[in-house]
């Protein structure tokens, strides 16, 4: 295995890892609001969060590319004040990836929250526990499968991300050349052997990680 190949895998893992971490932080509060609170226009809000599910990655990629361009307000702002350009950079791909994976985190978490009987929350409240304590001590431990699903789907979806990256990434080794792009590239160049090597390694790694997750998850039942 050559260095390029390893770098590409590391980069892919880095992108997926960061996206998952950032979405964990965003995802829990948002899912909580959606699951338990009522507010006006909630369905529209929910729909907006789910948009990346339905929108082709190329649409998102296109709009990101336009936004990042120094010719437009946002891109110019970043360029002038932070001297950064997001297009063709890891950060740029990361932002796109966070946006794009949002519903993969939110949906399972929200589902998990709504399927916990209301009386658990009510009991905790009467015991004087704050919403936050209740969330940490009662809700989270009773929705472990949903949390695992959310994390796995998000991480996984990022590893598989292709459309957005090919539009805003520019195929820069070490920055934006993630595994999916690398494989595409090798296939287009008809380097089937290299494509095979990438694919096979990714296949094995994925299979191992997932088997591990499911073995652990299978032992615990939903309600312990």
């Amino acid at each position: 295995m050559d260095q390029d190949f390893i770098n590409t895998l590391l980069l892919t893992g880095k992108l997926a890892g960061w996206t998952t971490i950032i979405l964990f932080i965003i995802g829990f509060p948002v899912a909580y609001l959606l699951a338990y609170k009522r507010f006006p226009l909630k369905p529209v809000f929910e729909a907006l969060i789910s948009m990346p599910l339905v929108l082709p990655p190329t649409v998102l990629g296109f709009y990101m590319l336009v936004a990042y361009s120094p010719q437009n307000a946002f891109g110019r702002f970043l360029e002038q004040h932070f001297n950064t350009r997001l297009a063709f950079s890891f950060q740029g791909v990361l932002i796109a990836s966070v946006l794009f994976s949002l519903p993969f985190m939110i949906q399972p978490l929200q589902n998990g929250l709504t399927s916990i009987p209301k009386s658990f929350r009510e009991t905790a409240y009467t015991l004087g526990k704050s919403e936050f304590t209740t969330f940490i001590r009662v809700l989270i431990p009773n929705m472990i499968p949903s949390i695992i699903t959310a994390a796995a789907m998000t991480f996984a979806h990022c590893i598989g991300e292709f459309g957005v990256v090919i539009m805003v990434g520019g195929n820069m080794p070490g920055e934006t050349r993630v595994a999916s792009i690398a494989i595409y590239d090798e296939v287009q160049a008809m380097n089937y052997q290299a494509a095979n090597q990438y694919s096979f390694i990714l296949f094995i790694i994925s299979l191992l990680i997932l088997t591990l997750i499911y073995s652990i998850n299978g032992k615990k039942k939903i309600f312990f």
């Binding site: 009987p117 658990f120 009991t123 409240y125 009467t126």
Partner: protein
């Protein structure tokens, strides 16, 4: 002292009615709610706990207004410091028996937890999760948990209905002791006359949402043979 004066729409097996309760419960009083299935007993407890909002009225505990529909006051369950035992227990599936009880404590006190588990004959099950408990065992954990929070107001929804007679007697004793020790206002739902007589310092008879009698157990039941029970033990 807990002053209650509330009204709330309710659908019973007799059709739509209002739950209307006016009562004053003195400190240290142990009140029994007594009434037909679906009369509104659980609903009243939920209202006291702050889990269900009355349509109208006032609830005042000592000097604190818990609820006032006119002044739009409705303080949260957390601030009311009640110990509410649900009719269907609502034990936390992720916690062991021991954790369920200690979770309720405001200040952790392991000895207290052990004492409670011993009293309720749960020691051997302390590391079990609720899914592996029998009906009566669940009920005892729920009761122990409600007591563990050392509440100002104790709300118990049929706390002993799934227990055998021995256990029932023993726990009646414990409830009474806890009530005296914590110096709480206690409201208890029961269908068992013996239990009412044994425990209650006063009784509220509810029928179809309306209070039809209240007072000392002996007074309430003496004149009301037509209402309840049709046939004495």
């Amino acid at each position: 002292m807990l002053k209650i004066d509330i009204k709330r729409a309710m659908l019973t097996s007799e059709g739509k009615t209002n739950l209307e309760v006016t009562a004053e419960i003195q400190d240290n009083e142990l009140l029994c709610l007594f009434g037909h299935s679906g009369a509104g007993k659980t609903t009243l407890l939920r209202i006291l706990a702050g889990l269900t909002k009355p349509d109208k009225g006032r609830i005042v505990f000592n000097d604190t207004v818990w609820f006032d529909s006119e002044k739009k006051i409705n303080i949260s369950p957390q601030q009311r410091n009640v110990g509410y035992m649900f009719q269907d227990y609502a034990l936390f599936p992720n916690m062991t028996v021991e954790k369920n009880i200690s979770f309720a404590q405001k200040e952790k006190d392991k000895d207290e937890v052990n004492k409670l588990m011993e009293l309720f004959d749960l020691d051997a099950l302390k590391n079990q999760h609720p899914a592996k408990l029998s009906g009566g065992q669940k009920q005892r954990v729920a009761l122990a948990r409600a007591l563990a929070s050392k509440p100002n107001v104790l709300l118990l929804d049929e706390p002993l209905s799934a227990l055998d007679f021995d256990m029932r007697l023993a726990l009646q004793h414990e409830i009474r002791k806890a009530h005296e020790l914590l110096n709480t206002v206690t409201c208890l739902v029961s269908h068992d006359l013996q239990e009412v007589f044994h425990l209650a310092s006063s009784v509220i008879l509810i029928k179809n949402g309306t209070v039809i009698n209240q007072g000392k157990p002996a007074d309430v039941f003496s004149g009301k043979q037509d209402f309840y029970p049709k046939q004495a033990y």
